[in-house]
Amino acid sequence: MLSIFVCEDDVTYQKKISEHIHNHLSEMDFDIELVLSTSNPAKILKHIKNSKVKGLYFLDIELEGGYNGIKIAKTIREYDPRAYIAFITSHPGYMSLTFEYKVEALAYIQKESNSSLREKIKTCIDDAYQKHIARPDEGCFIFKTPTGKQISCAFEEIFFFTTGAPGTNQLIMHTKKRQYMFYHSLEKISTELPIGQFYRCHKSYIINVGNIPESGRKALEQGKDRIIMPNGADCLVSFRKRKALVSVLDSL
């Protein structure tokens, strides 16, 4: 089940949003529920802290009382790593990159006329629901950054892990959207990853077999020592592991 939360301090606007959500949900036969519609983000955080929800969140960026929508979104992700977040803003689209890459927002909605708001909310709900049923209970890889922040990333999003600067136990995780550096060791990580999906293809690389592109398979069959992942990064494959990796690919 997917829960919807709305946080908007303009009460009339908040009501509008809730109304659109109700209308859309009543039209469609989705397993979705509007759980909370509030002007106080703390209420949402309190709610998701105590229950393992999977949610779709509509957040206003400029909230009263010093709250910042982006920060709230990040906190929400700590509790609900795969949260679908849509931002509502009265500003023009200049923050679009921040939404996309910092909080990986589903969408951002500009406060505009009524009809387009309804359309956008519809699209958001449909999108989130499609994504939700497409990968129902997939796990997440959770780690702490050097600054102590907890980050969780769906296994499906990960391309590969590799070691960072030599002599340290830095690891670099390449994901679909960006790269993260944190301190850990490949040995320990391999125990936290689902077997079959991830494969230690080199002494300093663990690859997500599910994300190897078609060209990667060809490269392996041609005897190349690396696979170029869809983000342009090279993932090395050692000579001895090449055949084994192909057979893991076949078994997927």
Partner: protein, 446 residues
């Protein structure tokens, strides 16, 4: 005539190492003439020395001096720099003498048993000359390469100083070996002396080369840092100008709109429809175009790194001038990015250029470039996206020479990859979508 034949091998030796050290280009005829002149001069010098038989002006000292003299003149013709030519000549002589001395050691070691055996000396000469030739060739080649490398980095005044220092150093090397030779005439154990001699020349040679190389490196660094400082100052001045110009435009914009609005007040209520319509249109146009200007560039004020700000203001102005809509997403102040400024500017320049190039050369109805600097708990993401039709093939885009734009391009992303590989906390990701291509640079706090 006998002297002429006698000196030929050593002249060849000297000439070859001179050629290697100086790296000057000579025509064949020049070489032959110079060679003959040198043989002649040194033959005369050697013969006159053997007639005089003075202890300090022994035959080989006179011969050497004459050869140095010839080589210097010869080099002067090409370099037009006396000190430099003398320095080349002396240096090559020292190298040759070193190889000779080194090879003389076994000769003296064995000659104890049959000191004046003519056949023995003859056999030895046959082995000795090719060996000496190879040895001096190798040493002079190596040292010549090293010297030339450091020399080509220098400019102007420093070049002259360098030649002078080189000249003094090589004169010292030469004098030292000569003093040594003089002593060795008085002592019996020639093998030991040759060894001492060889070690001495070698060490002084290397000290000389090391000093010259270090000196030129230091000068080079000084020049680079001066250049860096200067360009930084220029950039700051340029930024200052841009910002002043920008402020002026803003205040003008404000006034302009007010003026138009006040004109509107005059026209309102009176019966002159055309003027009114025209004014309304003008007002609308002014509001639209001027607000666009403000929105797109205003966010650069959050960048407190002058180089980066300058670079972006130029590049983005270029984009705007080419009818590209620019979306800037810099929500928080950016004051420190832990990457070398030069590298940062190069990388960001490549990213933006790449996007602009694609937008200008591709046939797009709607051209949008988005640029953002996103601070994320210590990590910094620099994102640059452009609208595109079909995403290029990921495997190739970072290869040297790959381009979707035709022509002599395709170096940008290749260089980007190389710079990122050389910086430990710098990495990038590409994020191709259906209608958008994004390059994302992640900078990790170290």
């Amino acid at each position: 005539m006998i002297y002429f034949i006698m000196v030929t091998p050593s002249v060849i030796l000297f000439f070859m190492s001179f050629y290697n050290v100086s790296k000057l280009k000579f025509y064949f005829a020049e070489t032959v003439i110079a060679f003959l002149i040198m043989c002649l001069v040194s033959a005369i010098a050697v013969s006159s020395a053997s007639l005089m038989s003075a202890p300090l002006l022994s035959d080989d000292v006179l011969g050497n001096i004459s050869i140095v003299f010839c080589l210097t003149l010869f080099a002067y013709k090409k370099t037009k720099d006396m000190a430099l030519s003398a320095y080349y000549a002396l240096f090559s002589i020292s190298i040759t003498m070193f190889s000779n001395t080194l090879l003389a050691i076994p000769f003296f070691l064995f000659s104890d048993t049959a000191p004046e055996n003519a056949r023995y000396i003859f056999v030895f000469q046959i082995i000795f000359i090719p060996l000496a030739f190879c040895l001096s060739y190798l040493i002079s080649k190596y040292i010549g390469n090293m010297l030339q490398k450091s020399y080509t980095q220098l400019t102007g005044e420093i070049k002259k100083k360098y030649a002078l220092y080189g000249f003094i150093l090589s004169t010292l090397v030469y004098l030292l070996t000569k003093i040594n030779t003089f002593i060795y005439r008085l002592v019996d154990d020639r093998a030991l002396l040759s060894l001492v001699n060889a070690v001495l020349i070698l060490s002084v040679l290397f000290i000389a080369v090391a000093i010259i190389t270090a000196y030129s490196n230091a000068q080079q660094k000084l020049l680079v840092s001066e250049y860096k400082n200067q360009s930084l100052k220029d950039l700051e001045a340029h930024n200052q100008q841009l910002e002043t110009a920008y402020d002026e435009i803003r205040s003008y914009r404000h006034d302009h709109l007010n003026l138009l609005h006040s004109l509107m007040g005059f026209v309102d209520g009176k019966n002159n429809g055309d003027i009114k319509n025209h004014l309304i249109k003008t007002l609308k146009y002014a509001e639209e175009s001027l607000s666009k200007l403000d929105d797109s560039m205003d966010r650069l004020k959050y960048i407190y790194i002058p180089e980066l700000k300058g670079l972006l203001s130029v590049k983005l102005a270029h984009a705007l001038a080419n009818d590209i809509e620019v979306g800037l997403d810099i929500a928080e102040p950016v004051d420190d990015i832990p990457v070398d400024r030069m590298d940062l500017c190069r990388v960001v320049g490549i990213m933006v250029d790449n996007a602009i190039d694609e937008l200008i050369s591709g046939d797009y109805d709607y051209k949008l470039l988005k640029f953002g600097i996103i601070l994320d708990d210590g990590d910094i993401l620099i994102v640059c996206t452009n609208t595109c039709k079909s995403s290029p093939s990921i495997e190739n885009i970072f290869n040297k020479g790959y381009t979707t734009k035709g022509g002599n391009r395709g170096l940008g992303l290749y260089n980007l990859k190389r710079i990122c590989e050389s910086c430990q906390n710098l990495s990038f990701t590409v994020y191709p979508k259906e209608d958008e291509f994004a390059l994302i640079l992640s900078i990790r706090q170290v």
